[in-house]
């Protein structure tokens, strides 16, 4: 075991899968010599050569469309979109084909590809470099949508995504890339796609979160414990689609109260689906309205103001307090 950042952990996953399986090809803008603008693909071209690590021309539809063809042929492309804000240049290839080829060909062809892309704010970046729009993918039938929250689960989930027989959109939080280190075992480790996790047990209120929001969420849980001796149960979704509703359903049946946290815009955001699922399956256990702590319904402002846009522990604590205040 060694302590790794999420960038290093993702790099390990790519390296080991490429060693194990010569069908795995990495492609994207600047993924070769440069090692990717965040260095996630660092060193891969030296180890595996330019036939397996492709610096592509500057064209996202080209990257995704070519990957679809590679996958149909029988390879396992892992493509990097430099920033999720530029994944829309390839949205037609993603929706029209990656999500449909298995279905269209009635099982003859499949698209076992991974679309890696950095999302989230918090790194003082330029316009288009700080968005969170996971709903575009989570709402699209035929895709899977995974969002890790730390080095260790990022590595394990990326391995699973690469081995998955279907297209996986893999959202990586820029804010987490180098935020902290975790022990990541050298030996193979995977996590099932489509399973959420309870990362903190509690009986008073349920906090449902994922990705870049896990740290403020856990921080909020700490504050709630210290300041008001409230025991919050914290769930990390890890996969948005297919969504695992078993844990948060159970949890809210126990706590009766919930706050859902995401950085994406509030309206028609991921939180709405969690609320709806809770209403479907835990309605009679609800003791208070479910709160959503989310990004606002405007474009995330340039970095001097982004900290007011991105939910933080304080905002989550306040929302939790309101939910707790309201009498059953």
């Amino acid at each position: 075991m060694s302590k790794m950042t999420m960038v290093q952990a993702l790099n390990l996953a790519l390296k080991q899968e490429m060693e194990k399986d010569d069908r795995v090809i990495v492609l994207g803008e600047d993924v070769g010599r440069d090692g990717g603008v965040f260095r996630v693909t660092e060193g891969l071209v030296d180890q595996f050569g330019e036939q397996r690590v492709l610096d592509t021309p500057l064209a996202e539809a080209g990257i995704v469309g070519m990957s679809i063809g590679m996958a149909a042929f029988g390879l396992r492309p892992v493509c990097e979109i430099q920033f999720s804000g530029f994944s829309y240049q390839a949205f037609h290839q993603t929706e029209n084909h990656a999500a449909r080829l298995r279905w269209r060909s009635q099982g003859r062809f499949s698209v076992p590809m991974v679309l890696r892309m950095p999302y989230s704010g918090g790194v003082r970046a330029l316009e288009h470099h700080s968005e969170s729009r996971e709903v575009y993918y989570a709402h699209t039938p035929g895709l899977k949508m995974v969002i890790p929250s730390g080095p260790r689960n990022a590595r394990a989930l990326l391995v699973s995504a690469i081995r998955d027989p279907d297209p996986v959109v893999f959202y990586e939080s820029k804010a987490l890339y180098r935020a902290f280190r975790e022990e990541v075992p050298e030996e193979e480790e995977t996590l099932p796609i489509g399973k959420s996790q309870i990362v903190r047990e509690g009986s008073d209120i349920t906090l449902v979160s994922y990705g870049s929001m896990m740290r403020p969420t856990l921080e909020a849980a700490e504050i709630l414990k210290e300041k008001e001796t409230v025991e919050a149960e914290v769930i990390d979704l890890l996969t948005l689609s297919p969504l695992d509703d078993s844990l948060f359903t159970e949890s809210v049946r126990k706590t009766g109260r919930a706050v859902i946290i995401h950085e994406a815009p509030r309206s028609y955001g991921p939180g709405a689906e969690i609320v709806a699922k809770l209403v479907d399956k835990s309605f009679y256990y609800l003791e208070a309205p479910i709160a959503r702590v989310a990004g606002f319904d405007v474009v995330i402002p340039l970095f001097s103001r982004e900290s007011y846009y991105i939910p933080d522990a304080q905002r989550i604590v306040r929302a939790a307090r309101n939910v707790l205040k309201t009498a059953a």
Binding site: I25, A61, G65, F73, S105, Q106, G107, P242
Partner: protein
């Protein structure tokens, strides 16, 4: 250091071997084995007659809307005739004749056009991708397949089809550029049938030819008489040779014409002139090939008549099989199949919901 002309190595040729009047340029005549030539004729005839039959099935409401291919038989058959089974074909939506040459069954075409996903099923061993409707989007898939072919050190090729309209999509640009950069063995076959629904070729782009767009990617491009099956065959063979040798991709513009409607939902009278259609009728690819084969004593009126009956029977048999199979198709809840390799829980729930609903409906 003044103003100097940059000389661009590549040039654009126009290739015609058998013209509308039946004149043959022997110096260019490709030598095609007799049985292949006859198979090409039979396939073009089948394509033509199948179109006619689909048209009247559609008028009778027995299938939905579909895109006819009449007039484009030579562009399709001339191109795929140079492929072998291990090669890949990446079609658009107007290559029915080519798909059939490559092994697609007629009944699957009928079934798909009647709104059953089963009709798009591709056999396990097939190297044909299913029909792709988003214009221009499929070319990139051919490039990815071409990359796979090189990566696995095979000498196969990927041939992809698209129309004149498709050349305006950004995906066309990205596909040809990637093919150039990665030197993939891809044959880009543009069926320039002069129309993109109601938009005439000249309004699609100001460039004089579509073939010259290859110059933007450092690729060879050639324009051929798309109603001359010998010219299409020769150009495709040349491109395939280069590709197999690892010399990369080629853009072939087949100048042809969409003799029929865009789809059966379309009414060309709104936007094009019948004279133009009549003009192109004189350049018909099927009769042109027939004249050639007759002149070479490889075909006769009797043989043509026989081929016609044979084709008619094949089509009738397919229509019968299709209607039989459609009766047998499974439950509506089959719509949940093939969404993912493994059905996730939330889809199981939805499938069960639908099955419950159907059961209740039967009770009521």
């Amino acid at each position: 250091m003044p103003r100097s002309k940059i000389d661009l190595p590549s040039q654009i040729d126009f290739l015609s071997i058998l013209d509308a009047e039946g004149n043959l340029d022997e110096s260019l005549e490709p030598d095609i084995p007799e049985e292949i030539l006859l198979r090409m004729h039979a396939s073009m005839l089948l394509g033509r007659r199948f179109d006619e039959r689909l048209l009247n099935l559609q008028r009778q409401g027995r299938i939905g809307t579909f895109p006819p291919i009449t007039g484009q038989e030579a562009s399709q058959i001339g191109a795929v005739a140079v492929l072998r089974d291990s090669d890949w074909m990446v079609p658009s939506f107007r290559e029915t004749a080519a798909e059939i040459w490559r092994g697609r069954t007629l009944e699957s075409v009928i079934i798909a056009n009647n709104g059953f996903n089963e009709g798009a099923q591709i056999p396990e061993d097939s190297h044909n991708l299913p029909v792709s409707i988003p214009v221009g989007s499929q070319m990139l898939h051919a490039v990815g397949i071409g990359f796979g072919i090189r990566y696995r050190k095979k000498d196969d090729v990927a041939m992809t089809f698209f129309g004149d309209g498709a050349t305006s999509e950004g995906d066309f640009h990205e596909a040809l550029n990637f093919a150039g950069v990665f030197q993939t063995p891809v044959i880009f076959v543009c069926q320039n049938n002069q129309w993109a629904i109601s938009l005439p070729r000249k309004k699609q782009t100001r460039s004089q030819t579509l073939a010259q767009k290859a110059l933007a990617y450092g690729l060879p491009g050639i324009q051929v008489d798309g109603n001359d099956v010998l010219a299409v065959y020769a150009a495709a063979a040349e491109a395939v040779d280069r590709a197999r040798k690892g010399e990369g991709a080629t853009l072939i513009e087949c100048v042809t014409y969409r003799m029929s409607v865009h789809t059966t939902a379309d009414d060309p009278k709104r936007y094009r002139n019948e004279d133009e259609v009549e003009d192109w009728r004189k350049r018909d690819p099927l009769t042109r090939l027939q004249k050639y084969l007759i002149r070479k004593n490889r075909l006769s009126d009797e043989k043509i008549a026989a081929a016609e009956t044979d084709v008619k029977e094949k089509i009738q048999a397919a229509v019968d099989r299709a209607e039989q199979q459609m009766k047998e198709f499974g439950a509506p809840s089959d719509m949940f199949n093939h969404a993912y390799a493994e059905m996730p829980p939330f889809l199981k729930e939805q499938k069960e919901f639908l099955e419950r609903e159907l059961a209740e409906n039967r009770e009521e």
